[in-house]
Structures are given as structure tokens and as C-alpha cells.
Amino acid sequence: MREILRHTPGKIFVGILFLSVVGMLFVTRYFTAKILVFGWMTLPLFAGLVMTLVWLVAYLIYFFKYWPYR
């Protein structure tokens, strides 16, 4: 983590992950709506899948292109 926060790409990476967690907490207020994404996905499932994909993409870009210990 120390090595990640030492350079700009690392700070952006951690910032994206942090914002996605904040976003996960923020969207809980909409979970009372009975909305089904793709006809079956409830909102808590969909929100988590989006967060996981955001983490996956951010991680792939950072760890394979910028991580100092790669």
C-alpha cells in the first residue's frame, strides 16, 4: 500500500476503489424499489456486481501496468 500511494496512478487506483465503496453505501437508499435488472437481478446483487467489475478493471490496469513491484 505504501508503494501504491507514492505515485499518481496508485492514488487514482485507491481513489476509485474508495469511491466505489462509498457508492455502494450511498445506493442502499434505493433498495426499497422492486426493480429487477435483466428481469431477475435484485438491486443489491446488481450493485455488488458493478462494484466487483469496477475493482477488477481498476486492478487489472494498475497492477499490470503501474504497480512498482510487478
Partner: protein, 492 residues
């Protein structure tokens, strides 16, 4: 036939343990950390199925069934917590342990903070929270045995204990990790297979048909706060924070120290996100939040809800498939309990016995103590679990996870923050622990929050403030735990 299949399954596990004993190097490093040779694929199965206990088959779908889909936030928090452990803490913890030949994460922190007292404190604290957890797994299997065969719970529990003890005593960390691949494959295929079968046989219209049925018959199952009004936005957020603390589970932290090289930390998160987050944990979610409420609505009570998946499989699917699913549950229980048992035995042998009474002990002695403590821990954990059966389900979420979290600030600070001091670690950990115990005895002290939240905040604040007001760690410690580690990780 059921008995024969389960006997063969048990023999396969024991055969692997015996093979592991034959090929092991008989050193403490080999027994406790698999000689630090675990690669990315084995590590993934090792960690995923160390985490995925029988809870993923009973407690998780059961809670979804009773309270709706928002409980999945615990899983999303856990996915982020595990990924964070491997991305942020893992490389440094692995490098520190490798450079200094440390065998336990408690040993790492005791040396980092130069505090034998902290070593005892963390060892005892982690043992208190992990040991009863071990006993829950055999009892879970016993319950499955009873449902399927009608035999008393003790038969299934005894079967699991025998497998566990022999596997851990003979095999050590390397074979526990390898066996987890086998056990994990059985468990994942049982979970996926039962879900596909249930859709084919019971809900031919698939996921959409299940969701549409619920929309008409029981729409509260598709949204917050759920049928019983439990999941308010604050509770959902708290559930995710509890999941995030997964980075502090000791039996997962120790896995980091078994890594073969730093490349593992570059690749490992892919598997956490894709296989763990998107695929594996979605299976019990679909079971508990969509399939079970459609196929068997109206079940009330925690105990009945916890066994809802097994009840459906036993009643609606072919009997031979029930046996396979029970094998999956046994696999989940053994894979988790084995790692917990091994972690506990390492803490006892390395941190308590060698750390205090026999510092000059040879490898063979340490391994011997670890093996003996496996037997002792198993007996204690079973006695505790049998004595307090009804309290055990709550123990996991209300006690064990908040308990594990209390070494989180000292762990993170010790690895990432040069300014963290011995006094900060001791005061923070003790305050969090005392607050947790007091709050469990007198609930209003938690102010309506999950026990993790207020205790970890107090722990963290005290760790930081006391560290800032006490003498800085020595230059020697900074060099050993930071400068040399960074040089090592930067080298090719």
C-alpha cells in the same frame, strides 16, 4: 450405499493426508507454511474454501430466505476485504515473514512492536475467538448427516473430527492447501449442480420465472428492508463494513505467508473478483433469495431457514444427489476447520510455547507441539460447541468477526505505518477487546450498531493517538520492517 460413499470420500482425504506426510520435509516451516511454496491456483482454492464454510450452505441462504437480498452486502464487503488483503497488505507481510523466517503473523507483530506482551495478548485473543468456530463445523455436518441418514448428530460430527485431526496432524499446511482443491471442487460442483438441477426440475422458466413469481407472491423478498423489515440502509451499510473486516481473519492472513513469490499478489485478485465474487458466492445467493422462496415458501424460524437448501434437495431431488451434496457440505466444513485448526496450533506452538517457554526449541519439537495442540483444540472446541449449541450461530457474526477485527489496526499499522508504536498497539487492542466484551454483556453500549463498528473505531483512534504521543519505533525496526522489505520487493 450412503455410508459406503461417505467412507470412500473420507478414505480419499486420509490418503492425501498420508501422502502429504510422506513427502513433507518435516521442518516447522514446511508443516506450518507449506515451505512457503504455494502458487496462485492452489492459494486461491486454499483461501476461498478456507473462507467458505458450511455457512455458505446453511447460514447464508437461510438468512437471505428470511430477510431478502440485502444480506449479500456482507459478501461484497468480504470480496473487497480479501482483495485488499492481497493487494495492499499481502506483499509486505509476505516479504517481512520471508526475510526474517517468521512463521506466524502474531510473531511478525510481536517483533515489529518489540513486545512479548503483545504476543501473548494477540495469541490468546485470536485463540478465544477462533477455537469455538472450529467446533461449529463438525456439528454442522452432524446436522446434515441426521437429516439424510437419521443417525444421531454425534455420528456425523465424529466422522468429521476424525478426518480433520488426521488431515491436519499428518499433512500440515501444504496438504491442507492441496486437499482444499479437491474439497473445493466437490463443494462448488455440488452447489452449482444442485442449483441447475433445481431449476430444471422445479422452476423450468429459469431465473426470470423465479423472480417474476416472487414479484407476484412475495415482493418483499426482492427488495429492502426484506420481509421482516430488518435491512434498513444503515444495517446494509454496517453489514458491508463487517464484511470488509475479512482482511483480519487470522486463518486467511496466515495464507499470505505461504506464498511462493511476489508474483502471486499480482495475479491472485483476478480469481477473487471473477471466481469468488461474480461466480461462487452468487450460487448460494440465488438458492436463498430466489429458488428457495419460490419452491418452499412460508418457512419461518432461523433453524428451519438455515437448512432450507438441504430440505429442498432432500425432498425434491434424487436421493443419490443428496449424498453428493452432503459430501459437498463435509468438504466445506473440513476445508475451513482444517485451516482454522492449523492456524490455532501454530499460534500455540510458535507464539505461546516456543515464544515464552522454549525459545531454543528445535523444529521437530515445535512441530510436535503443534500436532498435539491440534488434538487439544479439537476437544476444547467440540466441548464448547456442544455445551452452547444455540449460542454458536450468533457467536460467529456477533463475537468471532468483531473479535478478529480487534487486531486489525495493529496489523495494518504495523505493516504500513512506520510511526505505529508498541503502546499504541497494546492500548488500541486492549480497549477494543474490553469494549467488545463489555458490549456483549450489556448491549446498549453498542448504540444499536453491529459490535464491529464502535469497537473498531475506538481501537483505531486509540492506536493512532497513542502512537503519535509515544516514542517512535527504533531505526533498527524501521530498517527491518520497511526499508529492507521495500528493497526486497523492488528487486527482480
Amino acid at each position: 450405499m450412503t455410508i459406503l460413499i461417505l467412507a470412500l470420500f473420507g478414505l480419499a482425504i486420509l490418503g492425501m493426508a498420508a501422502y502429504g506426510y510422506k513427502v513433507s520435509a518435516k521442518t516447522a516451516e514446511d508443516y506450518m507454511l507449506a515451505g512457503r511454496t504455494i502458487g496462485v491456483v492452489v492459494m486461491f482454492f486454499f483461501v476461498l474454501f478456507a473462507v467458505s464454510s458450511s455457512w455458505t450452505f446453511y447460514g447464508y441462504p437461510g438468512f437471505l430466505y428470511l430477510h431478502g437480498p440485502s444480506y449479500i452486502y456482507f459478501v461484497w464487503g468480504s470480496v473487497a476485504g480479501f482483495a485488499a488483503l492481497y493487494m495492499f497488505l499481502g506483499p509486505r507481510l509476505w516479504a517481512i515473514a520471508r526475510l526474517n523466517r517468521f512463521l506466524s503473523p502474531v510473531e511478525v507483530l510481536a517483533e515489529r512492536y518489540e513486545s512479548p506482551f503483545l504476543r501473548v495478548l494477540l495469541s490468546l485473543m485470536l485463540l478465544v475467538f477462533i477455537v469455538p468456530y472450529v467446533g461449529i463445523q463438525p456439528l454442522g455436518v452432524g446436522l446434515g448427516f441426521k437429516t439424510l441418514t437419521g443417525m444421531p448428530i454425534i455420528v456425523g460430527a465424529a466422522y468429521t473430527v476424525v478426518l480433520l485431526v488426521i488431515l491436519v496432524i499428518l499433512g500440515g499446511m501444504r496438504i491442507v492447501a492441496w486437499v482444499n482443491i479437491f474439497l473445493g471442487s466437490v463443494y462448488a460442483s455440488a452447489l452449482l449442480g444442485s442449483l441447475i438441477w433445481a431449476f430444471n426440475r422445479l422452476i423450468p422458466g429459469g431465473l426470470k420465472a423465479a423472480a417474476q413469481t416472487l414479484m407476484v407472491q412475495n415482493p418483499e423478498m426482492l427488495s429492502a428492508p426484506g420481509p421482516l423489515g430488518y435491512f434498513t440502509p444503515v444495517v446494509i451499510g454496517g453489514t458491508m463494513v463487517v464484511g470488509l473486516m475479512a482482511f483480519s481473519w487470522p486463518h486467511i492472513v496466515i495464507g499470505v505467508m505461504t506464498a511462493r513469490d511476489k508474483v502471486l499478489f499480482k495475479w491472485f485478485p483476478i480469481l477473487i473478483f471473477i471466481f469468488g465474487g461474480v461466480f461462487f458466492y452468487t450460487l448460494p445467493f440465488i438458492w436463498g433469495s430466489l429458488v428457495a422462496p419460490v419452491v418452499m415458501p412460508g418457512v419461518t424460524g432461523k433453524e428451519a431457514a438455515d437448512s432450507i437448501v438441504q430440505t429442498i434437495i432432500t425432498q425434491k431431488l434424487p436421493s443419490w444427489f443428496s449424498v453428493y451434496v452432503l459430501m459437498g457440505v463435509i468438504a466445506a466444513a473440513v476445508s475451513t476447520a482444517a485451516v482454522q485448526l492449523l492456524t490455532s496450533s501454530i499460534i500455540i506452538a510458535r507464539d505461546l510455547i516456543q515464544g515464552f517457554f522454549k525459545p531454543e526449541a528445535e523444529d521437530s519439537k515445535i512441530v510436535k507441539w503443534a500436532r498435539w495442540s491440534v488434538v487439544g483444540i479439537t476437544i476444547i472446541s467440540l466441548v464448547v460447541s456442544l455445551r452452547y449449541t444455540k449460542a454458536m450461530a450468533l457467536y460467529l457474526t456477533e463475537v468471532t468477526i468483531p473479535g478478529f477485527a480487534q487486531w486489525g489496526p495493529a496489523l495494518v499499522g504495523g505493516i504500513l505505518w512506520k510511526r505505529g508504536t508498541k503502546q499504541g498497539a497494546i492500548v488500541g487492542t486492549l480497549a477494543g477487546l474490553i469494549y467488545l466484551v463489555a458490549g456483549l454483556l450489556y448491549k446498549p453500549l453498542f448504540f444499536g450498531m453491529h459490535p464491529v463498528m464502535p469497537t473498531i473505531i475506538v481501537n483505531m483512534i486509540l492506536y493512532i493517538v497513542v502512537s503519535l504521543f509515544t516514542e517512535r519505533p527504533s531505526e533498527e525496526i524501521k530498517a527491518k520492517f520497511f526499508d529492507e522489505v521495500e528493497e526486497f520487493l523492488e528487486a527482480d
